[in-house]
Symmetry: C2
Subunit: 212 residues, 2 copies
């Protein structure tokens, strides 16, 4: 299976700007990418990073990087157009799935069907597998709903895997709680965040605050 | 397995007050309870509602109701103290898991282990199974973390199931998007909400707005 991990190199994770400096956002984003790449490798697949510009992938400099400076949908669709088919599945896994484990990815990769989705919170499509030559993405808006419509137009019945881990992408401050509580203890992302932030439960609402 | 569904009868879902009238919040809350009870029954279990006061359970008046006007933790702990053990598992499933399906509940009920958790967003414990006589709950704050600590103190290694459906409880306006996109098409909750709200993607952010 070809596994592609899209990654925006410059100014990542802007929705975390209220909590993290630009350097921290970059380091966090690289840590999440490294953890996702590790999880993909742990199930025996060799990931490719689909990056918006040249950069050194974290951890392992042998990860192939394909550069495409277009927005996410056309960049992913170019890979699908070249590669996806019944005998050549393509998986697309977002780089900010900091809770992804080999087990959760296996469930996605092994699920049967021409198109298999792992939906994300807020209508996102956090990961998918396509074995159909004509499936294309449209990541704007509620992409999960749009992707299901695209399948319907193709006469394809999509499969959906039920995974909290794959359904949790890290974009907003509230998502940091998820990493601190659920990310694997030996991951770079959790290490990075646990050094800097703690979970708070002050008024009954759960959040994070910077450590002293 | 004894399956208990805690339910607050009066003034439910206050975090939805900006979107829904008190009557709508009550109707929505009853619809979610009915859907959860249906999903529990669909896997062959007979649920009991653990209610804060007397009321008529929706849909099926034969559902047993146990009344306990104490806060959630002591009310649940009383059931655990009476019932839970290696040969008498107790499952506690929150009434606002509007995405719960029989498949997702089966994965929880069938998972091995003395204590099995289905964590929820924001540190919650949306559902669990206990087969240990001494496990007790503490739902305040980041309960998933606290419940893991309680297990640790008992020398118990908990199991966690990975389910987006069980991980999604419906509390806040953003959660309505999840119901509209992911709840089963024949559920009461989705029917109720789809009649009143639509998913919006105006500025790239996904939300809901009331239908005209």
């Amino acid at each position: 299976m070809r596994v592609v991990v899209p990654y925006r190199v410059a100014d990542p994770k802007t929705r975390l700007a209220s909590l993290c400096s630009p350097a921290e956002r970059e380091a966090l984003s690289r840590a999440m990418l490294a953890d996702v790449l590790d999880a993909v490798r742990a199930v025996g697949e060799a990931p490719t990073v689909l990056a918006t510009e040249a950069f050194d992938p974290p951890g392992d400099t042998e990860t192939p990087v394909r550069i495409d400076d277009r927005p996410l949908s056309p960049a992913v669709n170019a890979v699908l157009a070249e590669r996806a088919g019944p005998d050549s599945p393509v998986a697309v896994v977002m780089a900010d799935l900091a809770l992804a484990t080999p087990g959760a990815l296996s469930a996605l990769f092994d699920a049967d069907g021409p198109v298999v989705f792992a939906p994300g919170r807020g209508g996102g499509t956090n990961a998918f597998v396509s074995r159909h030559p004509d499936f294309r993405t449209d990541y704007h808006g509620a992409s999960y709903r749009d992707h299901r419509r695209i399948c319907e137009d193709l006469g394809v019945t999509p499969t959906t895997v039920d995974s909290y881990r794959l359904g949790t992408d890290v974009d907003a401050p509230a998502d940091l709680v998820e990493v601190l509580l659920h990310a694997t203890a030996d991951g770079r992302t959790r290490d990075f965040l646990a050094d800097r932030f703690a979970v708070t439960t002050g008024d009954g609402r759960v959040g994070v605050e910077r450590r002293e």
